[in-house]
């Protein structure tokens, strides 16, 4: 039995190495605590942003109040202590007869909003709405309803059969209504005050929303899914309730924040694997250095299990100290990060290390020592006291039994990793994908390393002494060099997967360059109104950013198969997009045509639509351009023949290209674009988007449009656009920052490995020196060896990462992938540099010291 005392004595006796080891490991772990904390804090930050948009974690809504049974079920799933708020919303006509305006009534209870708040001009307490017949509205709305000044008396507005006082003006309401375009301005009132208006009775079209704030907000989407499932079990048939979590608050945002979460997940996984590599590598090195001690213990009659326990508890003590130190370092550094990275990360981001992150680092340090030891424990079995009689050396002959045993030794480590990745990734499929990719990369990189070091044989046939010695060392030491190579290459591989995806993601989420953000969407412009409308726009000096014809019709069949039976796509990306659309399948779609693609659109596959108008006489189908996600959702392939029905006319089209649409372009986009000529004579309306620089002019523009074209609905998208763009800016900044940050953390790992390797190399440097090599030569050999290993490892890792990141992008990120040569070159350069720099520092230490260590009594 080994006592703690003996163990500590052992560590203290080797305090130099113990300290070095702990520092090295702590550095690696601290980097990843920071990455994990950052990633998870950013994700939470985005969630909080989204929560403020939804004002809650979960929203249940229906067009009739929820029954007691339904509410009880919600309580059961979400927990009794969940915060609750209620909202009843509907459209009504407000104002004087003849000049009535459409407004949206938002009747709220006293707990609304659960997240976010009103920004009120006079800071009137929101309770007022509950207690008195009062409303809040925006200055704009007040003006359109004819309340010029709130100063002269209290303006009164009749809603239904009841008079409401305009109590305050809000500049910002908690809900920014990102789920739908704002068709009408909002008026806030208290739920209790609805009584007496007579607006809610049989046949009224009203939406009842129930908001919930849950205590554990980590998995809103999961809770929503669970709710959906429970409701569909209890109330079979078509669901009456709509259940939203924050990700559903806005479809476009949800897709992008979905990517963001996945990206952060990827970063966390990368961090996890990187810290695993670092720990395993360092532990392995430590065990190798303890081989001799183990042989001594064996010769003294210690049992192998005892040795294993002794060594692994040594590692556990060091690992625990290292993770403690890492946590301390990161906790000291993290508060400084928002200051250091000011402008690089979103404002108002609170970074804190959550339990999971701490768990990972402690696991790596403590339990990691035990699980990583296992594969090496098998090696211990092969240590024989005989080794003491000679120099400790080499490997006994290969045996299948040992190989199997060693393989089995890796199982607990693999299982632990798998478990952690599952926790981070959240789905078995994603975890398997990642783990398989990781294993594959490991195999490929080992093979590449083997090849590289075998190639060193050829390189060693040089006349240069330095080259000869360095390359011969690498070639002959290939098994030892390989573990260093593979660890470094895995590090380079993992960190360079990130910029490729980041670049693609960045392109997707960043603010579109030079794109005019429209102020209004104009719906339902009739054909005969088109020209007068264009004239008006010109008169008003407004900018028309888009005018699209819109023809409504149905898709009848795809390749002769009825469209309604056509299978819909499944898969992680499709699932996250289409849940919540559990209602009946959409059959009607809008078709359009445009002369040239909008700036926000790009053809990703296929050729552009033909410019020649389609001839109705021709037997051939006309050309169709399909939006990419639409094609994926309905599994429409290139070259498929779609049969449409437009106003009773069947038409056949063939898919010639897939189009990708920028999510934050704010331009009217269509799933299906037809070749020129097809829709010329079909009855259609136009959809326009207009922008205007001056805010004042925007108001008159709106006024003039409504007067001239009373049937045209003017939808104000300024607020929505502002909110979405601000979120997209934040996401974009965060994604870029995280990518660089994890690269930096990965480089720290490479530094740890190189440092460890350089320490191991000191003996060789000493020997070379004693054999007569000058300092320059010793240094050159070391730099060449490390530089070459670092360079070739980084190069292999980066090359492999191109393929892997492409697969990751295809699987998780809807193929958002873009090669990032700058980042790749940087990783390559820095890895080589770090590896050489570390070796240089180590060699300096050796070269400045005296090589007495080689002598018998000094060993």
């Amino acid at each position: 039995m080994f006592r703690i005392g003996a163990l500590l004595r052992q560590l203290i006796r080797n305090k130099g190495f113990t300290l070095f080891f702990i520092l090295n490991l702590a550095m690696g772990l601290a980097g990843f605590i920071a990455v994990l904390s950052f990633g998870r804090s950013l994700d939470r930050h985005m969630d909080e942003n989204l929560k403020e948009i939804l004002t809650a974690d979960i929203e249940l809504s229906a067009n009739a109040p929820l029954s007691l049974e339904e509410l009880a079920l919600a309580d059961e799933v979400l927990g009794k202590d969940a915060g609750k708020a209620r909202l009843i919303r509907f459209y009504t006509m407000a104002g004087a007869q003849g000049d009535a305006r459409l407004v949206e009534i938002m009747a709220i209870d006293e707990t609304y909003p659960l997240y976010g708040r009103f920004k009120l001009l006079h800071q009137t307490p929101v309770r007022v709405l509950e207690d008195t017949a009062a409303v809040f509205m925006t200055q704009d709305t007040a003006r359109t309803l004819g309340f010029g000044n709130t100063g002269e008396g209290t303006p009164v507005l009749n809603l239904g059969g009841k008079a409401f006082e305009l109590k305050d003006i809000f500049s910002e309401a908690p809900e920014t209504s990102l789920s739908s375009f704002e068709l009408a301005p909002k008026l806030y009132m208290g739920i209790k005050q609805l009584e007496g208006t007579g607006l809610i009775k049989f046949g009224s079209r009203v939406r009842y929303s129930y908001f919930f704030r849950v205590t554990d907000t980590t998995d809103g989407a999961g809770l929503a899914q669970k709710l959906r499932q429970r409701f569909s079990e209890r109330f079979p048939g078509l669901p009456r309730l709509r259940i939203h979590d924050i990700r559903d608050a806005n479809r476009r945002i949800s897709r992008v924040t979905g990517y963001f979460t996945r990206f952060m997940g990827l970063i966390s996984l990368t961090g996890l694997f990187l810290s695993g590599i670092a720990t395993a590598y360092l532990f392995r090195g430590y065990l190798n250095s303890r081989k001799k001690d183990m042989a001594i213990l064996l010769s003294l009659g210690a049992r192998k299990t005892e040795i294993y326990l002794a060594v692994s508890s040594e590692l556990m003590v060091m690992g625990t100290l290292a993770s403690g130190l890492a946590i301390a370092i990161s906790q000291a550094l993290i508060p400084a990060f928002p200051l250091i990275f000011k402008g690089l990360i979103p404002d108002g981001l609170r970074i804190h290390t959550d339990a999971f992150t701490l768990m990972v680092s402690v696991f790596m340090g403590m339990a990691g020592s035990v699980v990583f030891c296992l594969p090496l424990f098998v090696r211990i079995f092969r240590i024989k006291p005989l080794m003491l009689l000679r120099d400790i050396r080499g490997d006994s002959p290969f045996s299948i039994g040992h190989a199997l045993l060693r393989g089995a030794g890796f199982l607990p480590a693999t299982a632990a990793f798998f478990g952690l990745s599952f926790y981070v990734a959240g789905s078995v499929r994603d975890t398997v994908f990642f783990a398989a990719g990781f294993a594959l990369a490991l195999i490929l990189l080992s093979a590449m390393g083997g090849l590289v070091f075998s190639g060193c044989r050829i390189l060693s046939r040089t006349r240069s002494v330095v080259g000869k010695i360095a390359f011969r060392n690498l070639f002959r030491n290939k098994w030892a060099s390989l573990s260093c190579f593979v660890s470094m290459a895995m590090g380079a591989f993992l960190i360079s997967v990130i910029p490729q995806i980041q670049k693609g993601l960045q392109e997707e989420i960043s603010r579109p360059q030079g794109l005019k953000i429209p102020a209004f969407f104009l719906v339902d412009i009739q054909e005969e109104q088109k020209n007068p409308f264009l004239e008006l726009i010109q008169q008003e000096k407004a900018e028309l950013s888009n005018l699209s014809p819109m023809v409504r019709g149905r898709i009848i069949s795809v390749n002769e198969e009825p469209f309604s039976d056509h299978p819909q796509a499944s898969g992680p990306a499709a699932e996250s997009r289409s849940h919540g659309e559990g209602r009946s399948r959409r059959l009607e779609f809008n078709f359009s045509h445009r002369e040239a693609l909008d700036a926000s659109e790009t053809i990703v596959q296929g050729s552009p639509l033909s410019k020649t108008p389609w001839d109705f006489e021709s037997e051939t189908p006309f050309e169709v351009s399909v939006e990419l996600s639409f094609a994926e959702r309905y599994r429409i392939g290139m070259g498929d023949v779609l049969e449409f029905e437009v106003q009773g006319i069947p038409l056949k089209g063939r898919v010639v290209n897939f189009r990708k649409v920028r999510w934050n372009s704010f331009q009217p986009n269509f799933f299906l674009l037809f070749q020129d000529g097809v829709l010329d004579d079909a009855p259609k309306t136009f959809l326009a988007s207009v922008s205007h620089d001056s805010e004042e002019k925007r108001k008159t523009l709106r006024q003039n449009i409504t007067t001239a074209f009373p049937n045209v609905s003017v939808i104000d998208v300024t607020q929505l656009a502002g909110k979405i763009l601000s979120i997209s800016d934040r996401l974009s900044v965060s994604v870029r920052f995280m990518a660089w940050f994890s690269i930096a953390a990965g480089l720290v790992l490479i530094f740890s490995i190189a440092r460890h390797e350089a320490l191991k190399n000191q003996n060789q440097m000493n020997l070379l020196k004693v054999l007569g090599a000058g300092n320059a030569a010793v240094r050159a050999v070391t730099l060449l060896e490390f530089g070459f290993t670092g360079f070739s490892a980084a190069l292999s890792g980066i090359l492999l990462s191109f393929g892997f990141s492409f697969a990751v992008a295809a699987y998780f990120f809807d193929s958002l992938w873009k090669i990032d040569p700058r980042a790749s070159l940087m990783i390559l350069g820095l890895t080589t540099f770090i590896s050489m720099g570390t070796a240089f520092m180590a060699s300096r230490r050796v070269l400045n010291s005296k090589p007495v260590g080689l002598l018998s009594a000094m060993a």
Binding site: L389, R390, D391, R393, G394, V465, K468, I469, R472, N473, R476, N477, Q764, L767, L768, K769, V770, L771, G772, A773, G774, N775, A777, L847, N848, K850, P851, V852, L854, L855, S856, A857, M858, A859
Partner: protein
Amino acid sequence: MILELSDVSKSYRQTRSESLVVLKNISFSLDRGQTLAIIGQSGSGKTTLLSLIAGLDSPDSGQIMLEGKNIAAMAEKELSRYRAGKTSIIFQQFHLMPHLTAEENISLPLEILKQKKIRELTHDMLEKVGLQDRRHHLPAQLSGGECQRVAIARALVVKPALLLADEPTGNLDIETGEKIARLLFDLVEKENKTLILVTHNPSLAGQCREILTLEKGCLL
């Protein structure tokens, strides 16, 4: 006169306040072609003395004149340049490059010193230590005795002025040790080398023409 030590002292700091005096006022000289054994108990300072002569470490005071130059006064950089080709060391632990073959280990110092006719010199040396058949083997595939032969060959191949040996048979069984000792002395004789040997093996020391005994850092 190839080597002359005068008043050489060396101490190692043990704790902050005290230091251990290892060598105290050592003076002796050695002629070319001589063989000298330094003997003494463990901790008597013999290995430290060897490391000073080899230029692996420098004394606190005193002079070490190697072929007329005081190596004790040289800086590490200068020293390593001067040391090359003048001295060679044979270690108790052999200290062969584990990944190089016997032949490559022997030719390594020649390569480092950028000498010509490396192949011939190496083959010649291999023959002298009787390892022609084993020249493509790695140290791990050689026996302890064979390893030490390689180490001797490696030390001699650069034709050093002074050959140093640190317990050359310490890691070997008696029989092998004797064989190695015989080989070493034969070669020293044949090549007319100067040898300093550190050992506590009296029979090995007895084969040297001169013997110095160290006790607690002083020459007896």
